[in-house]
Amino acid sequence: MTGLFSEVFLSALLFGAVTAAIPLLLAGLGEQMSEKAGVLNIGIEGMMLAGAYLGFVGAFYSGSLWFGFLTGAAGGVAVALIMALLCVRIGLNQIVIGIALTLGLEGLTALLHHFQFSRSYPRLPAADATVIPLLSDIPVIGPAFFKHHLIVYLAVALVFAMSYLYRRTQLGLNLQAAGDKPAALDVAGIDVIRTRTIAVLSTGALAGLGGAYLANVGAGLFIPFITNGAGFLGIVLAMLARGRPVWVLFGALLFGVCLSLTTAMQVAGINIPTDVIQMLPFLAVMIMLVLFGRRASLPAALGIPYERGAR
């Protein structure tokens, strides 16, 4: 038992938690933006997969992780473009298109992987970490939180940037209005379709980036269905966070710890099926909802396509 709670083990556990949390954080922040603008983005799982696949391909052939992140984000945007065209511009049902996109990207990325990589399963070299001086010398916490790839710190900084965006900028207000009362936004002379399109495309970029991180840094390779529900977790996080980016961060860390615990338990050789530990974060959230479940503050026009002049 002493080995289980040693310093090395704890910091490895927390390090893993952060690594597992970053894709969830990016997906959650992205989904939050869509939902604020009134688009329920169920296709986010597909966007993450596109990001994971293209991110891996980009990083693998160029040898640069940053180029991989770029292609990953571009992959997410490409899927988001379909979503924006079909669901925002011509107003098709968001749930049908979202699920269809997720299914399609699951299939497409697995298919491409089969023809491209299934014989060799190439891996990327381990990502080099940016060590933050001084802070990284703190025992346990230092190696866990301050020895990550640069993009991890950027993702956390993004949380605060998003808070600022929603609270202090015109675009943030427009996004909120597009989800709560699109007709009012339209009357104010702002294009609802454009505002929502911006939101959906940003979601695609963030989700794609999250997928690319998952493949390139988290796993070091691409395998079919690598996201394994991370996009759906992002939806849950965004809805639980009630529009506040900081809560997405907390939620992502909670899920990250549980995911990391699953791996740690296996390494430590503890004889519980991993499924038990996988249930923990969901159980925690359900208990929270039962105890404190108040009315969720979702945007009023969430999931309803905007059509000018419609009754």
Partner: protein, 363 residues
């Protein structure tokens, strides 16, 4: 929408039979046209990865539809999907997003798999099967109780809660298989296997499960209840406008719980029918994830039970044919997902174009 506009567009026709015939023809065209278009688009992807699309489609059709064994497998696959679709029709018509179908399905499957082999030893087989169906249904209903209560009395959005319950349910089903109901006689973690002679009888001399008939009956009954009875009308009012439903004096919380119970119960039955009719046991980590594919199909059927039967047939034909083609032509099974996704998107687009066309003709 085409249901509303088609009669007025053809009202000038003297004979109504000609009108309905034209309506049916129109609907057939609007379904088959997009499917053909989707096949062409997906064919381009096949070409890109170096597979002859015509050979692939020919093989899928042969194995999923025209070969005697294939059509039997397709019809057998329809049974659980029909139950799932029936459950979703109830929930969606009542305006509730039960996205937790997979968790409810798996828990139903696991409880049916655990109870059926035990029950057949102590009672006649037919009674044992009925009992395990009921147990599976009740377990799935109980599983949906938390989201139902939270939605009914606290207004907590059911998309989050059902999604989380489905993640929980998938893991919980695995825990049950690995720790509680594990068959001690095998090395792979799985439940005890129900002997073939105790499973749901097969139809006539074929391999088609009689679960197909149960599924067809269920979805038609659900359709009639939702469209022809007072209870169905109440649910549809709740779905159309919950506030108006309160003012109309409907007990919305009670109806909400009823909707979740029916929807989840049917998903649990779907799991039971798949286990008792076809699989015989549940292996650890078994999750066919039918729910995700059935949801858009139910939408495209406009929550109409009869149309849903057609879409479910299409889905199972594609998946059975795709599985055979994967083994034979070396195209992984994942291609079926791509094909289904393109079919769904093109069908949705076609419906939009049709709606627009009708509107502009009316104006």
């Amino acid at each position: 929408m085409s249901i509303d506009t088609a009669p007025s567009a053809t009202a000038l026709d003297a004979t109504s039979s000609a009108a309905t015939r034209r309506d049916i023809l129109h609907r057939l065209l609007m379904t088959l046209g997009p499917i053909l278009a989707a096949l062409v688009i997906a064919g381009c992807i096949l070409l890109a990865v170096g597979v002859d699309p015509l050979a692939y489609y020919g093989y899928v059709l042969e194995k999923g539809l025209f070969s005697p064994l294939g059509i039997q497998q397709t019809l057998t696959r329809m049974a659980p999907l029909l139950f799932l679709a029936a459950g979703l029709i109830v929930a969606f018509r009542a305006g509730m997003w039960n996205l937790g179908g997979d968790g409810q399905f798996l828990l139903g499957a696991v409880t049916a798999a655990a109870s059926a082999p035990v029950l057949v030893e102590i009672m006649p087989a037919w009674l044992a099967l009925i009992c395990s169906f009921l147990i599976a249904m009740v377990v799935a209903m109980v599983w949906s109780l938390v989201p139902a209560l939270l939605r009914a009395y606290q207004g907590v959005n059911e998309i989050i809660t059902t999604l989380m319950m489905t993640f929980l349910g998938t893991s919980f089903a695995n825990v049950l298989v690995k720790l509680v109901f594990r068959d001690p006689g095998t090395t792979v973690p799985q439940t005890r296997t129900l002997p073939v002679e105790d499973r749901l009888p097969r139809l006539f001399d074929t391999t088609i499960t009689s679960g197909l008939l149960l599924g067809l009956a269920t979805i038609i009954i659900v359709h009639l209840v939702m469209t022809r009875t007072a209870f169905g009308l109440k649910l549809r009012i709740v779905g159309a406008n919950p506030r108006a439903a309160v003012h109309a004096g409907l007990g919305v919380p009670g109806l909400t719980i009823a909707v979740f119970a029916i929807s989840a119960g049917l998903a649990g039955l779907a799991g039971a029918v798949d286990i008792i009719g076809v699989q015989g046991n549940v292996r650890a980590d078994w999750n066919p994830a039918y729910g995700l594919a059935v949801i858009p199909a139910v939408f495209l059927a406009r929550m109409n039970g009869f149309a849903a039967i057609g879409f479910v047939f299409l889905l199972s034909m594609l998946s059975i044919g795709g599985e055979s083609a994967a083994r034979r032509l070396g195209v992984p099974n994942h291609f079926t997902l791509v094909l289904v996704s393109i079919v769904l998107i093109v069908l949705a687009l076609a419906e939009y174009v049709d709606h627009r066309y009708n509107q502009s003709r009316k104006a």
